[in-house]
């Protein structure tokens, strides 16, 4: 047993261009999300119908999470944060289909996203206080705290990415083990638990933490 991403093939036969199963499932996830989004927002009208209500509900739900922490900037951050919620949420849920590896079970995905969040946080901090003002804020309240603050800041993407990665991979390993031990009985509810609840909760946590980091950098 070898948990984690499996390399399916090498692009152009180059060793440094591996295509993993998690990446292929990631593409599948993107396609599914886009088809769903296109379907939900087709033929929109002022008086919403069933599927339009779903689209509006999702967008407003996410907007409702951003707005209290980043007042008046809900719509500005919505595309970034909502894409995190939706992509990670669907990536976690897709592992409910047996045989598909969750893209978030690959550290490349979670670390990539966490680093993107990290860059956005730095950008927003500098945008709010100016480059020098933001850098200076690491030396506050006293200069001795500068290394600790810097380490704390650099640790953010690590903890951010490993939290999601660990939860998903851990859930996957447990499910795999239980499948081997009791193939018919327990795995179904357990699989649903890890896929559905843990998946959605981890997506929510990842997104909320991203909002919190941006909010902290701006305050």
């Amino acid at each position: 047993m070898n948990p984690g991403p499996q390399i399916v093939f090498y692009l152009f036969g180059k060793d440094y261009l591996p295509i993993t199963d998690t990446l292929m499932v990631g593409w599948l996830t993107v396609v599914i999300i886009l088809i769903l989004a296109k379907y939900l927002t087709s033929k929109m009208s002022i008086r919403p119908n069933g599927k339009q209500n779903v689209a509006e509900f999702i967008v407003e739900l996410i907007h409702g999470q951003i707005e209290p922490m980043l007042p008046n900037e809900g719509w500005r951050f919505l595309p970034f944060i909502a894409t995190i919620f939706i992509y990670i949420g669907f990536s976690n849920l897709i592992s409910l289909i047996p045989g598909l590896a969750s893209p978030t079970g690959d550290l490349n995905t979670t670390l990539g996203l966490a680093l993107t969040v990290f860059l956005v946080v730095q950008y927003e901090g500098m945008r709010e206080y100016g480059v020098w003002g933001y850098i200076k804020s690491f030396a506050e309240p006293v200069i001795f705290l500068l290394p600790i603050n810097v380490i704390g800041e650099l640790a953010k993407p690590i903890s951010h990415s490993f939290r999601l990665f660990g939860n998903v991979v851990g859930g996957g390993i447990i499910i795999t083990l239980v499948y081997q031990a009791a193939p018919a009985l327990i795995p179904v509810p357990l699989h649903a638990w890890f896929g559905f609840f843990v998946g959605l909760i981890q997506a929510l946590i990842f997104g909320m933490i991203a909002i919190a980091y941006i909010s902290v950098a701006k305050s």
Partner: protein
């Protein structure tokens, strides 16, 4: 298990492509729709408020008109009632006068008829007395004959005239 490689770049491409396309297909349309709806609802609410004010004004106006009309109607009814009462009183008094006149006329007529009847009766009695007296005078008779004659007269009277007199 933990292996950093080009998958990270691929996944970031995935993420940003998804971000771009979702913005185009989901966020922007939904946001536009929400804003459009908010604008429309605001407009509708404003319009409704204006409409409501107008309705209030119209209502006050119509109520005033209705009150006026009601007063007018009341006045007309009162007027008509007064006039009707007056007319009724006039008619009654006229009728009473007429009835009084008729009554007096009839009483006078009755009085007249009574007088006429009495005088007629008196004439008749006088006639009969004269007749009886003539008969007495025509026949110079003794006491017995006198008696017989009176009796005869009375008998005759009984037979001939009693019915009439009675």
């Amino acid at each position: 298990m933990v292996n950093i490689n080009t998958t990270m770049i691929w996944q970031l491409i995935n993420f940003f492509v998804l971000l771009f396309l979702l913005k185009k297909f989901l966020y922007s349309p939904v946001k536009n729709m929400l804003e459009q709806r908010a604008a429309q609802i605001n407009g509708d609410l404003d319009a409704a408020e204006a409409e409501k004010e107008k309705v209030e004004e119209l209502k006050a106006e119509y109520e005033q008109k209705l009150r006026n009309a009601r007063n007018e109607a009341q006045k007309i009814v009162d007027n008509a009632e007064t006039r009707a009462n007056k007319k009724a009183k006039d008619i009654i008094s006229e009728a009473e006068t007429k009835a009084e006149n008729i009554k007096e006329k009839k009483l006078a007529e009755i009085e007249q008829a009574k007088k006429e009847a009495v005088s007629e009766l008196r004439d008749s009695i006088a006639d009969y007395t004269i007749l009886a007296t003539n008969k007495l005078i025509q026949e110079q008779l003794d006491k017995e004959k006198h008696q017989v004659m009176i009796n005869q007269f009375i008998d005759g009277l009984d037979k001939e005239k009693l019915g009439e007199l009675q």
